[in-house]
């Protein structure tokens, strides 16, 4: 059984997302890609030890940020959205800069419980 891998936007890394936005949630078995994984990449990585990647709580981390939509008569049509994600997870420490496979995550120190993730979670719409 694999757990969720969350990938966040490393602060000041030049990604198109807001710093610390949860860019992507992947199945822990999945390699995010060779350009993503070097330590100089713009992403941070953390496994959630007690959640699957398709757990609704985890999937919700990729919700778009609705707070800065320009209103229109039909909100689905042509709206401008300035932010990317509603939720940010602030991962502190250089260990999160390097992706490792799931079976090495605990040893590498890039594994957290859902409760620990919630403690560093920011909801832009809260």
């Amino acid at each position: 059984m694999s757990h969720a891998l969350i990938i966040t936007a490393k602060p000041s890394a030049g990604l198109t997302y807001t710093d610390n936005d949860v860019v992507q949630v992947l199945d822990g078995n999945q390699n995010p890609g060779s350009s993503v994984t070097p330590p100089e990449s713009g992403f941070l990585f953390c496994y959630i030890s007690d959640k699957e990647h398709d757990d609704p709580d985890v999937v919700a981390l990729m919700e778009p940020w609705e707070g800065d939509l320009i209103d229109s008569e039909e909100p689905e049509l042509g709206r401008e959205q300035l932010g990317k994600r509603r939720y940010q997870v602030t991962l502190t420490g250089s260990e999160f800069e390097t992706w490792v496979a799931e079976d090495q995550a605990a040893a590498a120190g890039i594994e957290k419980t859902w409760a620990e993730i919630q403690a560093i979670l920011t909801d832009k719409e809260a």
């Binding site: 198109t16 999945q30 995010p32 060779s34 350009s35 993503v36 713009g42 992403f43 990317k84």
Partner: protein
């Protein structure tokens, strides 16, 4: 010259696992490769090539890159990962709620299958002037809300462009244009396949905004075809659809209206006969829209290739996304398109048996002709008698055309030359039952296929409905693991056969030996 940086997307061993991660990195790619996010000033472009597969999740294409029509970001399939017109193949991007939201100007989506079950396959924000969607399949067949492809924005200089695309819709608008901002949109050679109350092309204007849409060679395979409301302007030509909610008369093709059908024997009337799986038009004498579109020689906005390859040329072409027709007969190996751009004025068809799934042997589809594979068993070789078989390599399934075969060559294309080859065996060309390439080939000592490279003139005319076969005789002494022709190139020309020619399906059969 623009420097193009290519990055890969795929589930294993690629730069990015999916589109979301790739898009997130475009600014850092630009900065690392070109020095800043200004692709125009740095004369750079970024191309993402994705492996075939399904990629889930909504993708925001929204960055601070500075782009123009050629210095931009393109998302397309890697070589070999194309959809070839099939919405269940290739690179499939899926999200339950809007698969791509395109904010970035000049974004290019090329050759993707974009599927959705919520609101829109693609939602184009008003900021995305110059965005281009080419050769894409927008699959809203599982039910979207609002529409399948939403388009607002674009300028006179940088219109939104949708070309060679197929859209599937159920009860919603397939190509939905709306002037949330002033909009200039061009839709060329697209096919809308819709059921229920959906409209193939909707122009929804607003009193205070402009909405200028050019639509050319659209093929509407739907019960409702066009609707324009409030302030809008539509221009273009050669669009085909039915009589309910018809295209405006000024932009209709001829004949109009047509009835979309998958029935190849539809009876009296004007029909667009299409393949139910892809929307590709079928080569059938009852198909009234064949070559009724305007071609690239008469309208430079018409793309010179189609969604699944093939070439458009000349003053006319087929409406819709496909440049070629689907043939119901055997062995549609020669492309439909007429390309007189080759030296000598001919086209060249490279027929690689190793890639062929449409080789026919005595009218039955075979897949045995793989290099290095046992050709003689079980089809060919008898231990007690000579066996003669014809491989149909070309069938002229084009009514009113004939194919002039000028010459040919063949080669081994990397065969395992340690294997026994064709000796003793005979081979020659047969056109509709008569041997036409004079001497056959009979060797007394084994030779490698590469030794058979040749350009013996054929100069054979294939009337409509007739076929060219590569014929073989095997003998009881033919080795059981014989390998044969690996690649065959035929130089040909397609010409009018005259109004009196008729089309009848034809399968070559055994010619009885040399």
């Amino acid at each position: 010259m623009t420097t193009v940086i290519t990055k890969t997307i795929g589930p294993s061993g690629r730069d990015y696992a999916n589109f979301i991660l790739a898009e997130a990195d475009v600014e850092s790619i630009a900065t690392a490769e070109f020095g800043s996010t200004d692709l125009v000033a740095n004369d750079g472009a970024i191309v993402f090539e994705a492996d075939a597969g399904t990629y889930t999740g909504r993708v925001f294409l929204q960055s601070t890159l500075t782009t123009d029509a050629t210095r931009n970001v393109t998302y397309r399939p890697a070589a070999g990962s194309e959809h070839n017109g099939d919405k269940s193949s290739g690179v499939i991007a899926f999200s339950q709620n809007t698969s791509f939201i395109v904010h970035d100007p000049h974004t290019v989506l090329d050759g993707l299958v974009i599927a959705n079950t919520g609101a829109y396959c693609v939602n184009t924000a008003g900021t995305a002037a110059g965005a281009q969607y080419r050769n894409c399949i927008f699959d809203g067949s599982q039910g979207t809300t609002f529409g399948v492809v939403f388009l607002t924005g674009g300028t006179v200089a940088d219109p939104l462009v949708v070309e060679n695309c197929v859209g599937y819709a159920v009860n919603v608008n397939t190509f939905y244009t709306r002037s949330i901002v002033d909009s200039n949109i061009r839709i060329v050679n697209c096919t809308a396949i819709s059921s229920g109350t959906g409209i193939s092309l909707r122009l929804e204007g607003a009193a205070s905004k402009s909405l200028d849409v050019e639509v050319v060679n659209m093929l509407s395979l739907a019960s409702r075809n066009y609707q324009g409301t409030l302030n809008h302007t539509v221009t273009g030509s050669n669009n085909f659809g039915g009589s309910t909610n018809p295209f405006p008369a000024a932009i209709q093709g001829s004949p109009y209206p047509i009835t979309p059908t998958t029935d190849t024997d539809p009876g009296e009337g004007d029909f667009a006969i299409f393949d139910a799986d892809t929307g590709q038009l079928i080569n059938d004498s009852d198909n009234d829209v064949i070559n009724q579109g305007i071609g690239p020689a008469a309208n430079s906005d018409v793309p010179t290739t189609g969604i699944a390859g093939g070439v458009r040329s000349g003053a006319t072409t087929h409406p819709g996304a496909f440049a070629t027709l689907k043939s119901l007969g055997p062995a549609p190996i020669i492309p439909d398109a007429i390309d007189y751009g080759m030296p000598g004025g001919y086209s060249v068809a490279s027929i690689l048996f190793e890639n062929s799934t449409t080789c026919y042997l005595n009218g039955v589809q075979k897949t045995v002709l793989y290099p290095g594979q046992d050709l003689s068993l079980p089809l060919f070789r008898s231990t007690s008698a000579d066996v003669n078989k014809d491989l149909v390599i070309v069938s002229n399934t084009r009514p009113n055309k004939q194919i002039l075969l000028h010459n040919y060559s063949w080669g081994h294309a990397g065969l395992d030359t340690t294997q026994p080859l064709y000796e003793p065996m005979l081979s020659w060309f047969t056109a509709y039952g008569s041997a036409v390439e004079g001497d056959g080939i009979a060797l007394t000592t084994p030779r490698y296929i590469g030794d058979m490279d040749r350009t013996t003139p054929l100069e054979v005319a294939l009337p409509p409905g007739k076929s060219l076969a590569l014929s073989f005789v095997s003998f009881p002494s033919t080795p059981p693991n014989t390998t044969l022709v690996a690649a065959l190139t035929v130089t040909y020309e397609i010409v009018d056969a005259g109004a009196s020619s008729t089309f009848t399906n034809h399968h070559a059969t055994s010619s009885g030996g040399k």
